[in-house]
Each structure stands twice: as structure tokens, then as C-alpha cells.
Subunit: 142 residues, 4 copies
């Protein structure tokens, strides 16, 4: 089973800055798209997770390393993987690739805490945890 999930996005004019490249904060929007589509691909509708299970995945930490600039109209491949799932936390990893050339443009991670709409941490509902745990990327292989 594939341990990563790829989504394509095209760089919007609005996402560039006067340097002619994607503004550094906008990579975090791509990461968001990556993790939502990662979950959708597993049958998890994040919108429903918020409404039906009162479970939001609140970002606790984020980081990004920028290697090469993404430019206007570039087609980007967001490659998302699950690094770790714990009772109350989810840890995603991302790579942003230039789709045509395959070059790695940026990589990053986000760590999330599961919270209810009251803002308090809670356990990730079992049904989601089971699905997500099965997809955790492992560096060891046999």
C-alpha cells in the first residue's frame, strides 16, 4: 500500500509576491490541502469529522524548509505522508515537488492536537485513529 498521497495544485497569481515566487507562508496552505486530500483519499471527510465527531485537528507546530522557489502557474505536486498518530496528536510530513521536473521545492511537517469545539484536547475518535495508523510511513522495510 502506498504510504504517501499526492495532490496537484497550480500556483495562483495571488500566492506570489513581488519577488515573483510563492510567498513563504503560502506553502502552509499547500500543506493544508495535502493533509485534507490525504484524509479524503482514506475515506475521511474532514468537514464531517468537525461536525459529526466534534473533532478538530488544531495545528500545534509547523515547519517548512524551502529549497527552490515555486513560481506563478507552476503545477505543484503535494506529497503527504503520516509520520505518527498518537491518542491525541497527528503528525504529517509533506514534500512540494515541481510536477514537470520532479524537483523538490520544499518540505515540511505539521503536528496537530485533536480538540473539541470547546478548544479542549480530546482523543482522536477510534474509527479515524485506526485508519490513520495503518498509513504511518515507516523507514524500515523488509
Amino acid at each position: 500500500m502506498s504510504k504517501t498521497f499526492d495532490t496537484l495544485v497550480r500556483v495562483r497569481y495571488a500566492e506570489t509576491d513581488k519577488m515573483g515566487v510563492v510567498y513563504y507562508g503560502n506553502y502552509y496552505i499547500y500543506f493544508e490541502i495535502g493533509r485534507v486530500e490525504y484524509m479524503r483519499n482514506l475515506g475521511i471527510d474532514y468537514r464531517r469529522m468537525e461536525i459529526d465527531d466534534d473533532s478538530m485537528i488544531v495545528v500545534a507546530e509547523s515547519k517548512c524548509r524551502y529549497r527552490r522557489p515555486a513560481r506563478y502557474d507552476d503545477l505543484l505536486r503535494i506529497r503527504t505522508r503520516m509520520i505518527e498518530v498518537k491518542r491525541r496528536t497527528i503528525h504529517f510530513g509533506y514534500e512540494i515537488l515541481h510536477d514537470e521536473s520532479g524537483e523538490l521545492l520544499a518540505s515540511g511537517e505539521t503536528i496537530h492536537v485533536v480538540c473539541g469545539s470547546n478548544g479542549k484536547p480530546k482523543a482522536l475518535p477510534e474509527k479515524y485513529r485506526t485508519i490513520l495508523e495503518n498509513t504511518v510511513a515507516t523507514s524500515s522495510s523488509t
Copy 2:
């Protein structure tokens, strides 16, 4: 009494695009800042208006005419005026000026419908209406 209210904002790097100027959609963010500060100046805390009076001013129409580009780090003067207040609608006007030169960079308008958190239109609470009506800009002067 002054019929307009001025707020200053400095153009952020994030707000520019690869043309080196403020992205056209971001002027609407400046308009938002203009109307919030216009109301704050009259003693209306929009945050409290949403919470205490269950009254949101939902945008129904917006428009902007762009005359000269705003650039990174420019200090902009957002000049806001009240065009009309009706039972359920509020109509704001804006001018974006380059603060140093005084040049007019953009002008626009927004029309808002007062809604409750259920999304249904409702009358603007009397206390706000009274305050806002007193500030409606009139073209006739004596």
C-alpha cells in the same frame, strides 16, 4: 463633525504579487479594516456586535476601481465613509490614498446585509442604526 474616518495600513510583502504591486483582491481587506475602524471610532465594537447582538454585517456587494498601484511598504490611508444606512442594509464607501503623496490609488464600495448567526436577514439593532445614520455622508452642504 467629520463624515469620513481615516486609518493607516502599511503594505505587507504578503499582499504584493509578482507584478510588484498589491494584489487586486487585497484592497477588499483594506476596505474591511476601514469599516471596522470606522465603527470602532464611533464606539461600535464589531466583535461585540456579532456576539452580544447576534448581528453580522454580511457583504452583499463589493466593487473597486483601481487607479494607481500600491507598492510594498507603502503607507496607505484608508478613508471610509457611510453612504447609506437602512433598516437591514449598510452601504460603505472607501478611498485608498498613498499617505505621503496624497494620491488616490483606489476607490470602492461595499453593501452589507445585517444577518443573525442563523444566516437570516434581520433589522440592524436600533442603537447601532442611530449612531451610523448620524454619520451618513451628504453631498449637499450648507
Copy 3:
């Protein structure tokens, strides 16, 4: 020949605001996507138009009428049409539809002036004008 071109976008978390709906300024980002894809569909690569022909289509006017809110994760259909092409100006029209229900959520227009990288207006290169004129929507039909 179809006089409109449709593009799909999914509403991002980043595009919503605390009212739970798409922030009003972000519809202008959807309009930008609509016109870029409209042109791409006609074989016009806007990125190349900027670089190869030193022709930027600078926004001179924009407006939007909001009918129903777009929400997080909604799949939106951006329907773009060409209203008018003149020597130096291009006028686009847009409708934002909820893809699943077909409901009209917003509609708007943008008027653009063709400029060189020096910021001065110039005539739209003939090759683009010919292509775009052929797609102007006409209200009269036979």
C-alpha cells in the same frame, strides 16, 4: 462553440473566515483562476504573455455580488465569459456556482487594461485579440 469556460476549485480552510464561509475578498481569487483557465483553454498561456509579449492585463475595475455563502470544502464551479475585448481593455464576467447543487453563489466582473512592464497602457497584441474576440458572449442568438 461554447461561450463560457468552467473551472472547478475546492474551498480551502485558509479561504474561510470566522463566519464559517469564504471571505468576501477571496472570490476575486476565484475570478483570477477563472480568467487564467479561460485563456489557457483558448491556447493563451498568461505566463508567457507576460514574458514573451510584455503584456500584462492589469485590473482596472472589479465587482462581485454575493448571493449565497460558499463553505469549507465546497466544490465550486467558476464559469467565466468574455464580455468585451477592445484595443486596450478586456472585460470578463464570472459566475460562481455550487457544483453539486448548481446554485449560483456569486457573480462578478473585472475590467482589465493591457500594460507593458513599464506600467504604461498598450494595445493587446493582435494574436491574442483575435482569439479573445471570437469568444465574446453575445446576448442575441439566432
Copy 4:
């Protein structure tokens, strides 16, 4: 001499998301404001640095740790410090505080590489390096 510099920003409606709090990627915009104002306070006009000295400070790494949510209309205090200046790199640190309560909402860092407009790394011009080195925060005190 103070080793940090504070700037105030008010949370805009556009910066919130449907969770009712500031979208996680937007903290990086606050960081940008922090470092620009940090430099301005030292007499460095970043706009002029790009134009006059062909020196851009391109982001190579960014990270943020989110502690408590920032909400619409909150007045935030961006506290910026210089962690390290090297020949070709600049390392900033940030804290985002709730101005009224003084609570720490988020903290983060960015590492920048000095580049020319050709995109190639270059040494930070001496005049800037001298100024910035003098402000590097030191954990040891006497």
C-alpha cells in the same frame, strides 16, 4: 540596549478561519511584519535594501509553535529578536503575545539566505551586517 523589538498588529477578519481563530499560516505574515519593523527600527529600509543593494533576504526555513489561539480583533504584540547573523544568513526569532493579557500565543523562527535578484546567494552588505550583528540576542548576561 534592548535586544528585541515590538510591533503591534490587530487581527483582521480575513486572517481568521472557520474555527474562529487566526489561520496557522498567517502567523508567518506576522513574523514578516516583525522582522521588517525590527530592521526599520535599526534604520534599515528593506525596500531600499532590495533596490539599492540588490540584496533580498530569502526564507530558507521557517517554523512556528502555536500555544493559544489568536482571535479576531485581538491586538497582538510581535516581539522580534535576532538570533544569529552570518556572512550569508540571518536568523530571526519571534514571539506573538496577546497585548492586553501578555499571554504568549505563538513563537517561531525564520532563517534567511541573502540573495541577489539573480537568485544566487551573496554576502550580506557590510553596512547591514554591522548593524544587525550588534543586536544579536545573547543568552549569557553579565
